[in-house]
């Protein structure tokens, strides 16, 4: 037997897997064997590190060396140079985008420096399929403490005191929710974890489930004890196969170790957890629709009250929280509400995980204390905008949220500041947009999403979003009319006030917030028939520049014969005939045709 002197952590999150981490991991195992180092070096597959832009990621301990974009072919060099001789492979280190400086270790990278990792503390650090590693880092201590030292009321009180609010979108105080469910008298109660993450651009729940599934199970178990439930469901999308697989492994291991099952920690408390795979309908993220789906019915919301805490799954009192909310619970119990309150603002305690996507350098997951500014998230952590372009807006909160323009970037990110700015926390998806983005087109994209995901039960959502989408479509096609903006606003107001569930009530938000901050773009489309960002095809004017060599290929490619000119001389497009199909731009070998 030899002492294991080094651990090679290969990220096995969905992001890194899709960029080839499985091959990298296999290569490490075979190269290590070739060098006969298998008795002293351990290869571990971990969950997501959040730095998906630079995957596949590999971290080598004890040094903590952080390698980015590792290819199968690079592995031999890492094994021979680093693992055998101790020489760090310089060329694979991360470079700060602004300074080009190489950063050797995990903790020094700008992306991680400003983060405060509570929910993600184990993601990328442990093997999610080994319960031993979770326990080694203090796992299940929260459950043990709750069961052996606290009363259910004490647990509810601690969570209330922590100020934790729902991380799935609404931001309802978690402790209050638990108190309602605990207060319902019934011999059967349920706890449900909402893992039906569906906002475009949000993937934090998936990463937590993939990277640290036990943390979620532990949070659910503590909740079940607090409200008096003995059975629970994790409702997770079938599109998350890796998360489902890791949850299955985790539940089995927790049962074997006695953290789930009967008479847990000798306290007489029992809990059975099931996984329910959802078919991927966005509306099933709404709690009443989600419960209908578990019951085998069509996933449609119903009016509340009665709230789930009174009559939930199969008519029994039920508490539903989302993945990230449950992932906060164990730490609150172990370290106490006062510790948790040390992070965040007065009304928004703790941290929030954001998924950074769009035109940003460091695509990935970042967990930050509440109250940090949007500017810090986008520039200090996200590394700024791609290709040195200018920032235009950031969409926060997915299809239910809104856009924040540049002058609001200094806004502290917390539940209430975002609402007052016309956006919302939502699940924490951030889509960063640069100057080349058309805001009308963005509003159309999100409305198209909610429209197609509308379940059709209530008229305001089913018909209202459809009409709004029709208006937006005609605006982007150059057929906008005077009065369209006002019509959009009145439809939006009505839908918000009358739709049955959260999906419909928030569906108009992307339109309203773009209208609020970028009204001039709507006006340009409608009055001047012009798309300022040059995105909307039907409004684009194609122009031939002086780079034209007169080859005539564009004229041949034009389906309506709108282009004329003599050979070897600059051609011209007749705008009155042009149908803006863009075929000429594709046909031109000299890039002489541009959108103006």
């Amino acid at each position: 037997m030899q002492h294991i002197r080094a651990h090679v952590l290969v990220c096995g999150g969905t992001g890194c897997k899709s960029s080839g981490s499985e091959k990298v991991e296999a290569a490490f195992r075979s190269e290590i064997e070739k060098m006969n180092l298998q008795n002293e070096i351990m290869v571990v597959e971990t969950g997501c590190h959040g730095f998906c832009e630079h995957g596949p990621l590999v971290i080598v301990y004890p040094e903590g060396t952080f390698y980015c974009s590792v290819k199968e072919d690079d592995v031999k060099e890492i094994v021979e140079e680093h693992l055998f001789k101790g020489r760090i492979v310089d060329r694979l280190l991360y470079r700060e985008p602004l300074t080009q400086e190489k950063v050797p270790t995990y903790s020094e990278i700008g992306f991680y420096k400003k983060q405060e990792r509570i929910v993600l503390e184990n993601c990328g650090v442990i093997n999610p399929e080994a319960i031993e590693e979770y326990v080694a880092l203090g796992g299940y201590e929260g459950l043990a403490k709750a069961l052996t030292e606290m009363t259910p009321e004490g647990v509810v009180e601690e969570v209330k005191k922590s100020g934790l609010r729902g991380r799935g979108g609404g931001g309802f105080p978690t402790g209050m929710k638990w108190q309602f469910a605990a207060g319902s008298v019934n011999d059967k109660k349920y706890v449900i974890c909402n893992a039906d993450e569906g906002d475009p651009g949000a993937f934090m729940d998936r990463s937590v489930l993939e990277g640290d599934p036990h943390k979620v199970l532990e949070g659910m178990a503590i909740c079940a004890y607090a409200i008096g439930a003995d059975e629970g469901y994790i409702y997770v999308r079938a599109e998350y196969p890796l998360a489902i697989q890791r949850l299955e492994v985790a539940i089995k291991q927790a049962e074997e170790m006695g953290f789930l099952g009967n008479n847990i920690f000798g306290s007489g408390f029992n809990l059975t957890l099931h996984i329910k795979e959802g078919a991927g309908a966005f509306v099933c993220g709404e709690e009443t629709a989600l419960m209908a789906s578990i019951e085998g019915k069509r996933g449609m919301p119903r009016p509340r009250p009665p709230f789930p805490a009174v009559s939930g799954l199969w008519g029994k009192p039920t508490n539903i929280n989302n993945v990230e909310t449950f992932a906060n619970v164990a730490n609150i119990i172990v370290k106490g509400a006062d510790w948790y309150c040390g992070y965040g603002t007065e009304k928004s305690k703790g941290t929030k995980v954001f998924a950074l996507t769009g035109k940003i350098n460091n695509t990935g997951l970042a967990e930050v204390p509440m109250g940090i500014t949007m500017k810090e998230i986008i520039y200090d952590i996200g590394g700024g905008i791609n290709d040195g372009k200018k920032f235009k807006a950031v969409q926060i909160g997915g299809p239910s949220g809104g856009c924040l323009p540049e002058h609001l970037l200094d806004l502290p990110v917390d539940y209430d500041s975002l609402i007052s700015a016309g956006a919302m926390m939502g699940s924490g998806g951030l889509v960063v947009m640069d100057e080349d983005t058309c805001m009308v087109d963005v509003a159309k994209f999100f409305l198209n999403f909610t429209q197609s995901e509308s379940c059709g039960k209530c008229t305001p959502c089913r018909e209202g979003t459809k009409r709004m989408l029709e208006i937006l479509t005609r605006i982007t096609e150059g057929l906008g009319r005077e009065g369209d903006i006002e019509l959009l606003e009145s439809l939006a107001k009505n839908i918000k006030e009358t739709a049955l569930c959260g999906l419909g009530q928030t569906a108009p938000n992307p339109v309203l917030s773009t209208l609020k901050h970028f009204r001039n773009e709507y006006e340009a489309h409608i009055m001047e028939k012009r798309c300022p960002a040059g995105v909307c095809d039907k409004l684009a004017n194609y122009v031939i520049t002086d780079a034209c060599k007169g080859c005539g290929l564009c004229a041949k490619g034009c389906p309506v014969n709108a282009i004329s000119g003599t050979v070897k001389e600059k051609h011209i497009i007749d705008e009155t005939i042009c149908i803006k199909c863009g075929a000429c731009m594709t046909a031109c070998p000299f890039k002489a045709i541009v959108k103006a």
Partner: protein, 122 residues
Amino acid sequence: MKTLDDLKALREKLKEDIRVRKNDGIKIIIGMGTCGIAAGAREIMSTILDEIATRNLQNVQVQQTGCIGMCEQEVLVDVIRPGEDRITYGKVDVNDAKRIVAEHVVNGRIVEDKVIGKIKQD
């Protein structure tokens, strides 16, 4: 698993398996430059790893480093105990390696006859 203490005992046991991922404890650094390897550094490293495992030592990290210029003195082994000076041993053979682990790493007594340098740690 019946009590919080049961869990804590299990955790202490399991913690050692992932200690490598925390950069703490006693460091043993072996020179693995071309000169070091030629002088037999690989064998020294295996010996040290074996010793750590046989003695079931916790809280010890083994790292490698490149050539630091004293090729004549290879194999070089450095030991850093937290809060103490960095001790460099030269011309370490298998027996010396075992002595260094037993004396310096375990008991904190520097193996004076093999020391070729001390570096103050701040």
